[in-house]
Symmetry: none
DNA sequence: GCATTCCAGTTGTAGGATGATATGTATAAC
DNA sequence: GTTATACATATCATCCTACAACTGGAATGC
């Protein structure tokens, strides 16, 4: 039986599709920890791809700590305790609506991050955030320099929460978004909107200075929704509305 | 010139050795971000291995976000901060207060997840969540089976948000916490608290059935704070208080 | 009964062939 | 001279076959 791999119109590479399929089977429990994966030969026939492709797919699973291959025997499914990495690959990012979901996640993390930062920030944090803001405002056009400064602004806020995990996660998510925007090569007239963008950042900064968590959260939420909008991503409004209803 | 690969007493596979070598070259700055890797052919000759091995090595680097391969051109070295993967190693997890930070992150993600799920859940999601809840209540003692069911409960809620990234992040964070608890081998009398734990889950479930985002969020927040407390982790109360003030 | 040998199955590696894609170049048309 | 088209080249992506290394168990010999 030849398994049809998802993704008809996509451009994903074959190894990635195979890895994604197996990964889902493991996550869903169809393949129990300790059990053996089908042989490379079988998988090759099942998916209608070469053994080479299967090997690359398994190598990816192994890198993620999901399976362990042993020569002469096969690949064992490992227990989830041993997984130590989270990964978002570019192929899945390119699939249309994923951007929307990523922005949604970012909105959640950053809104709380801003609120926490408003409570916990010290003077050195404010200084670092202000420095990033100045670098951003200095640029007349929206180009690489100001994008770096923008990211730095958000990362400094995350750092001010004092929670390194929040910092790590936000850095990661922001980087994913920046990259996918870069690859999408959006041709929007972003340059005209620099003032809007800077203005949103200023409001966040002022709320942080004031030490007002609710205001910081609201300002950040508005900023993320605006940023998503500027790259053509419409966030589901329910979250925003509920947040607005609160403040 | 044939390059000698490290590996004196090692038994590591060739692709891993090649990947490690290239990885070190990138880390050390010998290969600048933006530059092209040598072609597969050249690497194959340089290391004295087959192109197949080189391809698997590059696939590994790509999976870690260190390079990006583009058909017809080559593999570009990406900037180090552009990692496509997050890794959290066990050593950092063991350091005391990291648990507290991890729970804080979990609280943020899961609270919003519950709220979103309350808005978006379909009947099949409720069924899956209920099934996990039943499995959990069925157990008399707090052991592996019920821990699995507990995790499943949370992951099913995350799945009901319809946002695969939220699902991924929550699965990851929960797994990290479960793992560190497992390794810590806490000897608390957890068994006595099963009813409390199940009760908290029931309240979350009821809020989801009712489709009440605010209630779901509050119940989840209370649950996470309680769960943290039961393993001896005190969450900073500020977040919880602010949340309470809203509902 | 026990050790040894052999064999089938599986992963690991090698190397070539072909398809898909990007880039540069030369040729032709205007 | 400029543009456009076609071609050649370089590279990754995939497929294929073959063989080496390793494992587990079955057959064999004693």
């Amino acid at each position: 039986m030849k398994q049809r791999l998802a993704a008809i119109g996509t451009v994903e590479a074959l190894p990635h599709r195979v890895a994604a399929f197996l990964s889902r089977e493991i996550e869903s429990g169809d393949l129990n920890p300790g059990s053996l994966l089908p042989t490379e030969q079988q998988l090759s026939e099942k998916f209608g791809v070469s053994r080479n492709v299967v090997r690359e797919a398994i190598a990816q699973l192994r890198a993620d700590g999901m399976v362990e291959a042993r020569q002469g025997i096969g690949s064992f499914v490992l227990a989830p305790e041993q997984r130590a990495a989270i990964r978002i690959d570019r192929e899945t990012l390119k699939e249309g609506q994923n951007m929307e979901r990523l922005f949604e996640l970012r909105c959640i993390l950053e809104a709380e991050s801003a609120a926490l930062a408003a409570e916990r920030r010290g003077q050195e944090h404010l200084d670092a955030i202000k420095a990033a803001l100045d670098r951003m405002s200095g640029e007349e056009r929206w180009e690489d320099g100001s994008i770096d400064a923008d990211l730095l602004f958000h990362r400094e806020i995350a750092r001010a929460t004092g929670n390194s995990y929040i910092h790590t996660f936000i850095s990661f998510v922001c980087e994913q978004i920046r990259r996918s925007i870069y690859y999408a090569r959006l041709t929007n007239p972003l340059h005209d909107l620099v003032e809007v963008n800077v203005g949103e950042h200023v409001r966040i900064y002022e709320a942080l200075v004031a030490g007002d968590p609710a205001a910081a959260e609201a300002a950040m939420r508005a900023h993320i929704i605006g940023a998503a909008d500027r790259v053509g991503v419409k966030l589901p409004t329910s979250r925003a509305q509920r947040a607005d209803g609160r403040k």
